[in-house]
Amino acid sequence: MNNTIYSINGPVVTVKDTKDFAMMEMVYVGDANLVGEVIGITDDRTTIQVYEETSGLRPGEPVKGTGAPMSVTLGPGILTNIYDGIERPLRDIHEKSGAFIERGADVPALDQTRRYDVTVLVKPGDELSGGSIYATCPETPVILHKCMVPPNMSGTVTEVMPSGSYTVNDTVVRIKTPSGTIESLTLCQKWPIRTARPASLRKPISLPLVTGQRVIDTLFPIAKGGAAAVPGGFGTGKTMTQHQLAKWCDADIIVYVGCGERGNEMTQVLDEFGELIDPKTGNKLTDRTVLIANTSNMPVAAREASIYTGITLAEYYRDMGYHVAIMADSTSRWAEALREISGRLEEMPAEEGFPAYLPSRLSQFYERAGYMVNLNGTEGSVSIIGAVSPQGADFSEPVTQNTKRFVRTFWALDKSLAYARHYPAINWTESYSEYVDDLTAYYNEKVSPDFLTCRRRISTLLAEEASLMEIVKLIGADVLPDDQKLTIETAKAIRLGFLQQNAFHKDDTYVPLEKQLAMMKIILYVNDRCEAIIKRGVALSELVELGLFDILAGMKYEIPNDHPEAFDRLYEKIDTALAPFEKTAAEGTVNAQ
């Protein structure tokens, strides 16, 4: 059956009078074999979106079906790689076609020649079901790759190859399925990107995704298996926040999707992650990272697919029992790709030209996050951190508003904080996290029962400061009573010393929870001591002159992460400085230490 192109409009191509294609089927378009996907079928027209530039296509060129939906290849070799939106390795494309990306590049997703040191775990007669692990191989120095039976397959092992060195396409196990066919299992498998990989059970959230960023871990935590959104106008540090999380969060695997963003940024990630060492494993950060780069000048339809490619890779590693974090920068560009294609299809637009199915697509994506018990009994999680680029930094636009409904952590980036170079520019009055209650047990048991108490006090102080500043804006700070002035001083110390974090400082770029707690405690200690002293009639200005608050603002640099005992010296310093004021009255001092 010869199907040929009938019409061409940007990335949208149609075929006339055919019933050969299935919805969402992957097709090859034209003589150059451009990758496309069927997105609409009527009785006389089949509509296809093409993942590559359509210049030069002619009506009459062939369109070939593949019989399968748009899929990615899953197997060892994914980590450390950099892919385009439809899992084509950009390094191989570079070797093949030079610095600029040519169309119709046909390169396999996984290195076909690399040999892995495979350990086969099953023996003939074993019953395998979907998700069962039949072999393992070290993929990178830190990640053991586990080869699993595809979720929709099961059977009895009939033949097993000895453990040894194999490439991704070598058969290592054969199984006989219940219907009697023999299936060969290699190191890799395919999975359609728009279908979530199944798991047996969704578990309640209980672990935080520790990021080492104080404002996030303390005030607005995200859980393993949770979803967070980072909205912010340009220049507020969305990408910087994403990079920091990709570098330091305690997930096992990072999937970083650069969706319609800058090429130079992807290059920066490539360069930096290749050099940085993961403090937990001592290995390079790239060893646990896969990048998906669909920069803003690459074809728009592939941008739409890149998000799904990313989440499918993430789910695959979750199935092995790993904790995976996926950063999508930026989901707005993905939504715009939807809008662009929807416009080409002349669909009826809803808000701001976005298609009416925007919310359902967003929810489908965010719902693929979760803490799961996998089919093979292991536990793993996928956490999603999606950047949102609201038009005109206006959070009331459709993408931000709809995203807000499906995520439980919201880090609102603030232009005025960014202008004042307060980074991370996460606004503490607009942001929220609904995971705090789920994580209470973890904080109490694994960190300290004080953690949440301190957290509450810190956020109360910040809220009080916000309302005091309303007054200060009108009449100045001088007229406030000393206890309110103290609140402002303490809140300033919290902002400068705690919330602001320097991504370029060797210690401050990542701060463990214990140090975060110690920092909160000492800030509150100074606050409480001063409060007691002021109550006895000492003027706050005298206390401010001691420079205590400056010490608090500077402690993030002064105290190395691996020397918590330095806090003791700080307490001594504070006690010595405050000692003269204690003499004025003998009654009980508060000791929060």
């Binding site: 019409s7 210049s55 610095a99 220049g235 809008r339 170079r421 804006k473 400056d550």
Partner: protein, 467 residues
């Protein structure tokens, strides 16, 4: 092989429709031959079976359904390229308009370019010295960066662009070849003349390739102009190892041309009537800035756009800001107070700055000084707001110090003569002089030792004696 189609089926704005066309390919260039012998060029923008939609670059004035024959060329829109383009002036569609004849093409390239593989990119690290304190000090331009100027009608963006062209120097190795590609889109004659004159006076004219699409030229050529310019820039940069600075003005006119074209095609509009693909379209140009690994050339872009009604949330500046690596925002209030260049420091930003400054590039304390200046100037705004409510006299001592700092910062750091070329040393020392106006305890963004070494209230005296 030259298929010719006689007549047209319909004409709508810059678009014509032809029926019974065989062998047409998407994005192909066609020639329309009029009865009077003149020819126009067009491009196929939609194909539906044997019906094709063509956009005519020179406009459809004078075309009728019967007086035209159309010839398919079988090629996408290509530009003839050679080093001889330097010193020449072209139309938006890449045709020479300086009367010096055709350019012999050593190479032909599709003007749409191809996406640069992120793997092949070199991360930009070398700064370009512009000699302008506000830019060098606070939003350093890096080679391979795209850093737009957000301006408004009537502000001095052209003067600033001209100064950038005349003063820009590569930090190291000044022997490297440096050239400018200039694309004017929808600007009036005076502006085009102004730039021509500036290039002439500063003696760089033979190193400039100009693409001019004036305000009364066809809008389709306006859509082509930046693409031709960038194709020329890429050719010179990557084939001839030159460092190219591309100045494109005015991107707002470009976007309006795109909107006009989109609406004549009957496309569904997005925000403010601009097509839904405005982001992708702008990105396909801005992303052509960069450096290819292993080469010596670079493409640096300074697009200039006027914000309609000075509104930075308007789709054009907004989407531009999301693609480019920072922005230089001009401020009308500063402009009205006679401060040139009227750079509004707080919303301005250079994203690549952090990796291109400091030890080995500019000076070790650059990042600290810049951060502190930003933070302090942000405080000035608070102090001013408070002062305007309760009166300056009522402000605390530190707020008063901020007011003085703000005033002097604007007068001496931001403001400079349009011919003044400051070194990085000058700029950073000036920064320290200004910071010395503030109480020492306010310099919280910096290492104490750095403050110890450089902070000195005496340095600030020069400002007080000025007044």
């Amino acid at each position: 092989m030259s298929i010719q189609i006689t007549g047209l089926s319909s004409i709508n704005g810059p678009l014509v429709v032809l029926d019974h066309v065989t062998g047409a390919s998407y994005d192909e260039v066609v020639e329309l031959i009029l009865e009077n012998g003149t020819t126009r060029t067009g491009r196929i923008v939609q194909i539906e079976g044997d019906r094709v939609v063509v956009q005519v670059f020179e406009g459809t004035n004078g075309l009728s359904l019967t007086n035209t024959r159309t010839r398919l060329t079988g090629k996408p829109m290509e530009l003839a390229l050679s080093t001889e383009m330097l010193g020449r002036i072209f139309s938006g569609a890449g045709k020479p308009i300086d009367g010096l004849g055709e350019v012999y093409g050593a190479d032909y390239r599709d003007i749409n370019g191809k996406p640069l593989n992120p793997v092949a990119r070199e991360y930009p690290r070398n700064y370009i010295r512009t000699g302008i304190s506000s830019i060098d000090g606070l939003m350093t331009l890096i080679r391979g960066q795209k850093l737009p100027i957000f301006s408004g009608s009537g502000m001095s963006h052209n003067k600033l662009a001209a100064q950038l062209v005349c003063q820009s120097q590569l930090s190291d190795d000044s022997n490297e070849k440096f050239a400018i590609v200039f694309a004017a889109m929808g600007v009036n004659n005076d502006v085009a003349d102004y730039f021509k004159r500036v290039f002439e006076e500063s003696g760089v004219l033979e190193n400039v390739v100009m693409f001019l699409n004036l305000a009364n030229d066809p809008i389709i050529e306006r859509i082509l102009a930046p693409r031709c310019a960038l194709t020329a820039a890429e050719y010179l940069a990557y084939e001839h190892g030159m460092n190219i600075l591309v100045i494109m003005t005015d991107m707002t006119s470009y976007a309006e041309a795109l909107r006009e074209f989109s609406s004549s095609k009957g496309e569904i509009p997005g925000r403010k009537g601009y097509p839904g693909y405005l982001y992708s379209d702008l990105a396909s140009m801005y992303e052509r800035a960069g450096i290819v690994k292993g080469g010596t050339g670079s493409v640096t872009q300074i697009p200039i756009l006027t914000m309609p009604n000075d509104d930075i949330t308007h789709p054009v500046p907004d989407l531009t800001g999301y693609i480019t690596e920072g922005q230089i925002v001009l401020d009308r209030a500063l402009d009205q107070r006679g401060i040139y260049p009227p750079v509004s420091v707080l919303p301005s930003l250079s994203r690549l700055m952090k990796d291109g400054i400091g030890e080995g590039f500019t000076r070790a304390d650059h990042a600290d000084v810049a951060n502190q200046l930003f933070a302090s100037y942000a405080r000035v705004q608070d102090a001013r707001a408070l002062g305007s409510v309760i009166g300056e006299e009522e402000l605390s001592a530190s707020d008063k110090a901020y007011l003085v700092f703000g005033r002097e910062f604007e007068q001496h750091f931001i403001s400079q003569d349009s011919r003044e070329n400051r070194t990085i040393q000058d700029t950073l020392e000036l920064g320290w002089d200004l910071l010395s106006l503030l109480p020492r305890s306010e310099l919280s963004r910096m290492d104490a030792s750095l403050v110890e070494k450089n902070y000195n209230p005496d340095r600030a005296k020069r400002f007080r004696s000025d007044r």
